[in-house]
């Protein structure tokens, strides 16, 4: 696999621009609450029709960023441009977006139809037609006369979505819209929201702390940490080529191995010398961290032909449903403890059990290399 060397050892690469023409541009957004810097010098460009997820642990600033875009708050510095218009200081009513909050904020005293029609003007007949359209869109034609308290969580969520879309805004903001729902409904609605968004082609920004949600729904995921953007990339890139150690450890599972740089493209990992997939650009002798996903560790039924295979002790075997997670102790990799994911078929082939040794090697092409050692978080 060909890798762009600039993405290696690079703290936060600039968003690689949107595929289509930019619709929303955030430039140098900073925000502090008292002593705490919540957003610092944040740049982001979102293309027309894109679905972007803001992903990060709680307190990373993702909701604060959404609030700046929605005009519920004003950034201390920086500029927000939407469709060529500077909206940084405009009140919400003068921007053009629909929003769905975590709580849905459905008006409890209004029927579903009245909730959806809340932002609509014009003649009664036109309103009724638009409401009928939207109810059909979310597949809930039969509940028009009900009140929010009489709906299930999933239904409420869809009504909130229909209300936000009723005025045909050009931007849709979703603040953790699925977090109040149970797992099964959530999974169903993920697909539904995504297909709705693609059907309407509406630019969408969704805040979530659920990486699975972000990876399955978004065109691009913005991973945030400590008020900064760690990486902004497609789900595939994010998973396969995490730009920082934070992204590597926050998104998906992974192993961090302490290694040492030997030459521009070589490193030693314990007793093993590795040819890295790309030059890493650190001087020889400096510390490196090698990151590898559990599915990119290869367990061999027999001693393989590859030169860099080593023996590992199996310490734990966990069934995670479709796969097994094997915990390994690898003396030759500097006594590292790692986990590897294998399928049921592979396990049958390996015929392994606890307290047994097994040859293991790295899928070197999938290695990610970060400067520095030790901790998983910067």
């Amino acid at each position: 696999m060909k890798l762009d060397p600039t993405t290696l050892l690079h703290k936060a690469p600039p968003a690689d621009g949107a595929a289509t023409r930019p619709y929303l541009t955030l430039a140098g957004i900073s925000k502090r609450f008292g002593q705490q810097q919540v957003l610092s010098q944040l740049d982001l460009t979102i293309g027309k029709g894109e679905f972007v997820c803001l992903l990060g642990p709680s307190g990373c600033g993702k909701t604060t960023l959404l609030r700046q875009i929605a005009g519920l708050d004003v950034p201390d510095s920086g500029q927000i441009v939407m469709d060529g218009r500077d909206i940084t200081l405009l009140p919400p009513a003068q921007r053009d977006y629909g929003i769905v909050f975590q709580s849905y904020a459905l008006f409890p005293n209004l029927s579903v139809a009245d909730n959806i029609a809340y932002g609509l003007g014009g003649a009664r007949r036109d309103k009724a037609r638009r409401v009928a359209e939207l109810l059909a869109l979310i597949g809930l034609d039969e509940i028009a006369g009900k009140y929010p308290a009489q709906l299930s969580g999933g239904q409420q969520q869809r009504v909130a979505l229909a209300r936000a879309l009723a005025t045909s805004p050009s931007l849709l903001l979703l603040d953790e819209p699925l977090s109040a729902l149970d797992a099964r409904v959530r999974e169903h609605l993920r697909r539904e929201i995504r297909s709705l968004q693609q059907k309407l082609g509406i630019t969408t920004i969704m805040v979530t702390h659920d990486q699975e949600e972000a990876l399955t729904m978004a065109d691009r995921v913005v991973v945030m940490n400590g008020g900064r953007i760690e990486q902004c990339a497609t789900p595939f890139t994010l998973y396969r080529e995490p730009a920082t150690r934070f992204v590597a450890s926050f998104v998906g599972q992974g192993n961090c191995l302490a290694a040492c740089s030997r030459s521009s493209q070589h490193a030693t990992l314990g007793d093993v010398s590795l040819l890295l997939p790309a030059p890493h650009g650190t001087p020889p002798g400096s510390a490196l961290t090698l990151f590898i996903r559990p599915e990119d560790l290869i367990l061999h039924p027999r001693w393989p032909a590859t030169p860099d295979a080593v023996l590992a002790d199996i310490t734990k075997l966990e069934l995670l449903g479709p796969i097994y997670r094997v915990s390994l102790h690898v003396p030759a990799w500097g006594a590292a403890n790692v986990v590897a994911d294998i399928t049921h078929a592979q396990l049958a082939q390996l015929d392994i059990s606890l307290q047994q040794r097994v040859p293991v090697s790295l899928n070197v092409a999938r290695l990610r290399v970060f400067a520095g050692e030790g901790a998983q978080h910067d």
Binding site: L89, P92, R95, N109, Y118, R163
Partner: protein, 563 residues
């Protein structure tokens, strides 16, 4: 980097600008209705008798008067005794209502809240009829000893009982059954359980109730005026100084003294609220009321005794209103309602009171709700919102008598451009709204706080003006609280006597004031008749509001019912 000078602000939309403006106007109104009159008292307290500035001298002089020290001592004793009497009585009553499967629970609750419908003058009148010189049971208090300490304490107990009860009901209503089960499995008997679980959990409520009772007694003058005889108390002293002797600076100084317990209790209450936090965790198990036959019987007897006593005190005055000549000629008559035969204001006073209560309910509800909404829901509320909220808390700490005095000093000042208001019904409405503002404001804030804070942002994103959301969503969802506020204003304005006693004119005389004046003139039966009218109209208003609320809920609040 941007400069550190002024932080950037979002531009306000048109509706937000309008709402901010409204908030500033409401704030200005509160300043005029509460803050400036209070400041006027402070100023007045520093004037000599001839009106020249005298600094702290009048304060020193007044405090040095032996009469004042006696009155302060009297007030203190009466307040302490009443608190000591009411607190255990109300605690037992509240415990019986909340912790025991009491038959007729709703009825007993209603019975205990009845005193709220009456002016504080009424228990005094009843006590006169029961134990006074011509009382049915005058032998119980030999030589007219009811006129004084005993009478005041009994009357104040009647007047303050529902206030203490409401606080204690709230405190006792919540509890965690798991704690009691744990204690029982560890072998703790009923006394130990009470001392280690119930009492600690309700100690804040007890302190709060004690402060309320103490403050109410110190600042009330209705009971002492009617039954107090020569017993000196501060509130009556202030009344005498201002109304009797026209000595305004001395009245002002006493007013400041009356402010002290109220301020103290206000401070304690705020402090308690901060300390209290949440005592009952979300996982608490609801309490199961006690069902043992003996406990239920004892609770029933107790509540019947206490409730019966309250009913007797209320009923005596009402009965006396319809009786020819208490206690000698017990035949039925309506002649005491023919107020033309006596001084005091008569039917005009009653009509004025109805008007005052109606206008206060209307104006108060609108102002309070708009203020609470603006200060809690408006994005651009800012300083105005904070100031309004702070100022809204102040009237709670100001006794009606003090507020009334402040109104005289402020509005009766020749240099005040609002001088024209003096002597009108409008100033009585303003004073009543200000007097009862805090409780109403808190009710509105509580109701508003229960609404999702994202309603306004959602509405703004849909480009719907604030006013429409206020009208279509906020107001309808808060309707029960709004009706509650209106009822509270109506009943309070109907029964109050303390604030308005300094502000009425012969044209704007009020029913409660008429009770006082008739009683003063010796027309006790007419006073009882007028007090009966007040109770009847407050009761009718409560009934009306209950029906209205029921009807509105059934009609427009369909959404509250799940399928």
């Amino acid at each position: 980097m941007t400069s550190l000078s002024t932080p950037r602000r979002l531009a306000a939309s048109r509706d937000e600008t309008q709402a901010s403006l409204l908030l500033w106007l409401l704030l200005a109104l509160l300043v005029v209705a509460v803050l400036l009159p209070l400041a006027a008292i402070l100023g007045q307290a520093m004037l000599a008798a001839d009106g020249s500035f005298a600094g702290l001298a009048p304060l020193r002089d007044t405090l040095a008067q032996p009469g004042l020290a006696r009155a302060a001592g009297g007030s203190l004793q009466v307040a302490l005794a009443t608190t000591a009497l009411v607190l255990p009585l109300a605690y037992g009553y509240a415990a019986a209502l909340t912790r025991v499967a009491l038959p007729g629970r709703g009825l007993f609750r209603l019975l205990a809240l009845l005193p709220l419908l009456a002016p504080s003058l009424l228990p005094g009148i009843s006590l006169v009829y029961l134990f006074g010189h011509q009382g049915l049971l005058k032998s119980w208090f030999a030589d007219g000893s009811i006129y004084g300490f005993a009478g005041i304490v009994l009357g104040e107990a009647f007047y303050t009982f529902p206030h203490a009860l409401m606080i204690l009901l709230t405190a006792l209503a919540v509890g965690d059954a798991r704690l009691y089960e744990a204690a029982r499995t560890l072998g703790a008997g009923p006394l130990r359980r009470f001392a280690t679980i119930t009492l600690p959990a309700t100690r804040y409520g007890l302190v709060s109730a004690a402060m309320v009772v103490f403050t109410l007694v110190v600042t009330d003058f209705g009971v002492a005026k009617v039954i107090g005889g020569q017993y000196p108390v501060l509130a009556v002293e202030a009344y005498k100084q201002v109304i009797g002797q026209q000595n305004f600076p001395r009245g002002a100084v006493i007013g400041l003294l009356l402010l002290l317990p109220a301020l103290l209790s206000f401070a304690v209450d705020r402090w308690l609220q901060r300390r209290q936090g949440t005592q009952v965790s979300a996982r608490a198990q609801p309490l199961q009321p006690l069902r043992q036959p003996l406990v239920r019987l004892l609770a029933l007897l107790y509540c019947s005794a206490v409730g019966g006593a309250l009913l007797v005190l209320l009923g005596t005055a009402i009965a006396a209103a319809f009786i020819q000549q208490w206690p000698y000629q017990l035949s039925f008559t309506l002649q005491h309602f023919d107020f033309d035969l006596v001084d005091g204001g008569g039917w005009l006073a009653f009509a004025n009171s109805l008007k005052l209560a109606l206008y206060t309910a209307l104006a108060g509800t609108v102002l309070v709700f708009l203020g609470a909404w603006g200060s809690s829901k408006l994005r651009t509320a800012g300083t105005a919102g904070q100031l309004l909220h702070a100022l809204a808390m102040l009237p709670m700490a100001v006794p009606g008598l003090v507020l009334g005095l402040g109104y005289i000093f402020f509005f009766n000042h020749a240099a005040n451009p609002l001088h024209g208001l003096y002597g009108t019904l409008a100033i009585l409405v303003l004073c009543s709204v200000a007097h009862f503002y805090t409780t109403a404001h808190m009710t509105a804030r509580t109701a508003l706080a229960q609404l999702d804070g994202d309603f306004e942002p959602v509405a703004a994103s849909l480009k719907v003006p604030l006013w429409r959301t206020l009208w279509r969503v906020t107001l309808p969802t808060c309707l029960p609280a709004v009706l509650d506020i209106a009822r509270y204003f109506f009943v309070s304005a109907m029964t109050t006597v303390s604030a308005v006693i300094f502000l009425y004119t012969p044209d704007t005389v009020l029913a409660a004031v008429a009770v006082l004046n008739m009683d003063d003139a010796g027309d006790t039966a007419a006073a009882a008749a007028m007090a009966t009218l007040i109770v009847a109209s407050s009761g009718a208003a409560c009934l009306l509001f209950a029906l209205l609320s029921h009807w509105l809920l059934a009609r427009s609040q369909r959404w509250r019912r799940p399928l």
